[in-house]
């Protein structure tokens, strides 16, 4: 089937399926990123991937399924195998002084704000460190688990049972209660949940104009997770929904306006038949391996090379491994016919997944610092040379090219408006302007 369009909006979601442990749906196979990239669009911020701290980790079949942040919001606490509430040890410099540093203080805040419903502003205690941003909590979990303080299935405990009454838990977190009861035989009103980090969200994507959502390819628009820029290096909970609503509308309006003016597209018939051939190739390849094997290996390569923690040698090895997978994909076989054929679909998805996997690794290799959803063991902390740079990935002469680009400055009038609306603190503005 051929769709001729003057403008196209890419809204294909994320990349979760590139990783073995992820919270995403089966169709999050990075297609939009790769389609845009192959059409000549620039990708930005591809190194920034959010690992959500609380994914289910037992039984194996549910590994990665998301546990809502709401559990911590309702008072849930994180504990290691010594029963220690460990998050107090992990308050990073940027959050020093903003979170409670003792259990007593955190508990007082919990009692007043969560249980009694008092306004946060009127409470003198600071909030519990379990509520810090997702990257910080996920890294703390990872460290606890790696240093041997994890539970039997390789996670840590998220405990709401000892914090709220069974009635409250069932009322406030009904789907979590059912999810654990049915899938893991765990009654979360009685015992803690075992959890570990899971790949959740891609902050990077197609670089688009913030006013029109158009990429550098005329007529190609993007909105949602597959577009870049909205969430910086680390998305906050709840923000992707508003992202979709606002930028989806902008993309729609501008794509429509563009289509009204644009000329009808010309289709290159030879390219079409080439594409057709490529798509059918898995049926013609006799005796090759099944796509699912390559997918499983890709997920391991990504976890190892560009997981929560990255380092030069592992990234280099990962890039080599991806090349090997690309060679294997050329010979992949599919059985049956083209109707509703998941094995064939995976074979087609893999082309996109491998391209995007490479983009992630190359961008991660380029950013020699740690920031938000990008953490390097060999370059810890922020580096000044990257503070105002974003990494771009694009195709040139059939090869992947990496560039550094200056981040656009916030317009002065917007800065002032943000400050006067109390959305930006004056001292942060000073930092942004390089005055502090």
């Amino acid at each position: 089937m051929l769709f001729k369009a003057k403008s196209v909006i890419v809204s294909t979601g994320g990349i979760g399926k590139l990783y073995f442990v992820n919270s995403n749906s089966w169709e999050c196979t990075a297609d939009g990123f790769a389609l845009g990239y192959l059409a000549g669009a620039e990708l930005a911020d591809m190194e920034y991937i959010q690992f959500h701290p609380t994914g289910m980790c037992w039984p194996p079949s549910v590994r990665g399924i998301l546990i809502t942040e709401g559990v911590r919001g309702e008072g849930g606490v994180l504990k290691n195998n010594k029963g220690e509430r460990f998050m107090f040890k992990y308050i990073p410099p940027k959050y020093q002084g903003k979170y409670a540093d003792t259990e007593a203080e955190a508990n007082a805040w919990f009692q007043k704000v969560v249980v009694e419903g008092q306004k946060e502003e009127g409470v003198k205690e600071r909030k519990p460190p379990e509520l810090m941003s997702r990257d910080v909590v996920a890294r703390a979990l990872w460290t606890e688990i790696k240093e041997g303080r994890g539970m039997e299935h390789g996670g840590v405990h998220l405990d709401i049972a000892s914090r709220r009454t069974p009635e409250d838990i069932k009322k406030k977190l009904p789907s979590m209660y059912h999810q654990f009861k049915q899938l893991a035989d765990v009654d979360i009103t009685k015992v803690p949940m075992e959890i570990s980090p899971t790949c959740h969200y891609m902050m990077g994507g197609l670089k688009v104009d913030p006013e029109t959502q158009m990429s550098n390819v005329p007529g190609l628009f993007a909105a949602g997770e597959c577009s870049a820029g909205m969430h910086g290096s680390n998305r906050l909970g709840g923000n992707s929904l508003s992202d979709l609503v606002v930028f989806g509308k902008l993309a729609g309006e501008h794509a429509a306006a563009y289509a009204k003016k644009a000329a009808a597209p010309k289709i290159d018939e030879s390219k079409l038949s080439e594409l057709n051939k490529e798509m059918n190739r898995p049926f013609e390849n006799q005796g090759g391996e099944v796509s699912y094997k390559i997918l499983a290996d890709l997920q391991q390569v990504m976890e190892k090379g560009a997981g929560m923690y990255r380092e030069e040698a592992l990234l280099e090895q990962g890039l080599k491994d991806l090349e090997g997978l690309k060679k294997r994909l050329e010979k992949v076989s599919a059985e049956g016919n083209r109707m509703f054929n998941p094995g064939w679909h995976v074979a087609l998805d893999l082309r996109n997944m491998l391209a995007v996997g490479e983009a992630i690794m190359r961008a991660a290799k380029e950013r020699k610092e740690s920031r938000g959803g990008h953490t390097r063991t060999d370059y810890t902390g922020y580096a000044k040379e990257f503070a105002k740079k974003r990494i771009l990935v694009r195709q040139k002469g059939g090869k992947m090219e990496i560039l550094r680009e200056d981040l656009p400055q916030i317009p002065k009038e917007l800065e002032e408006e943000l400050v006067s609306d109390h959305l930006l603190k004056p001292e942060i503005l000073k930092q942004l302007r390089g005055e502090a």
Partner: protein, 243 residues
């Protein structure tokens, strides 16, 4: 858990048959995991719909050992060791391929239900009791297992004459909404065939969201139809006063 013996339906709109698979199962697996394992290791073209794997999206409906179930919420350890487990597509809907059926009938019915229409000038706050009543119906994930099991659709093929339990739930959520202005009673009686339901409660039994479909949706709707059209006093009143 060791080896499990699966019989999975393979076929399309022209016909098909069960195929046997031996699968190595791991602890904690659900039926959907076993189907995925078959795809990955034995039949990569085995078609099945799925999405969330957490009983929230309602995509992986099938008949497991003859019972309409969500495959992702059916754990393997509920079956006896060594037992054969059959997985078939939903019988009520036309088969596309293997475990994937064409459920578009449901979307057609849905279009024939006038949507929520708030009363003009109504206050947008209401009693908790009213919220809870409607909230139960809104738990529906549209897995269509109730439609699949309902004998009016399944055995008597009343598609087009009978909306089915899912849509009585939807209509109940609208009719019982404190500020909805429409009356869908006539529609229920004439177009959606509410009278064909003989409240055997099969729909309630298979609902993965435990919605009390029969007791809380269908019976109250039936009462409304009876009140309006079959109450002898009302009929008499209407005759006398010429309504």
């Amino acid at each position: 858990m060791g080896q499990v013996h699966m019989r999975v339906y393979r076929g399309n709109s022209e016909g098909g048959q069960f195929k046997d698979y031996q699968v190595e199962a791991e602890e904690g697996m659900v039926v959907l995991d076993v189907i995925h394992k078959i795809q990955a290791t034995q039949s990569s073209d085995l078609a099945c719909r799925w999405n969330c794997k957490a009983g929230k999206c309602g995509s992986c409906s099938a008949e497991v050992n003859g019972k309409p179930r969500l495959m992702c919420m059916t754990r393997m350890n509920e079956f006896k060791e060594g037992a054969t487990i059959t997985v078939a597509p939903m019988k009520t809907f036309p088969l596309m391929k293997d475990l994937a059926t064409d459920v578009s009938y449901n979307y057609q019915v849905n279009k024939r239900i006038p949507p929520f229409t708030p009363k003009e000038g109504a206050a947008w706050s209401w009693e908790q009791e009213d919220v809870d009543r409607v909230q139960e119906f809104r738990k529906c994930i549209e897995c269509f297992l109730c439609q699949d099991t309902c004998h009016v659709l399944r055995d008597h093929d009343k598609m087009g004459k009978f909306a089915g339990p899912r849509f009585f739930v939807r209509i109940a959520s609208l009719e019982m909404h404190p500020i909805d202005a429409l009356d869908r009673t006539e529609l229920l009686k004439n177009e959606h065939g509410l009278g064909l339901c003989n409240i055997t409660k099969c729909c309630t039994e298979v609902c993965p969201e435990s919605i009390h479909i029969t007791d809380n949706a269908i019976i109250p709707l039936k009462e409304r139809v009876v009140d309006k059209y079959y109450d002898p006093l009302r009929i008499l009143w209407n005759k006398v006063f010429g309504k």
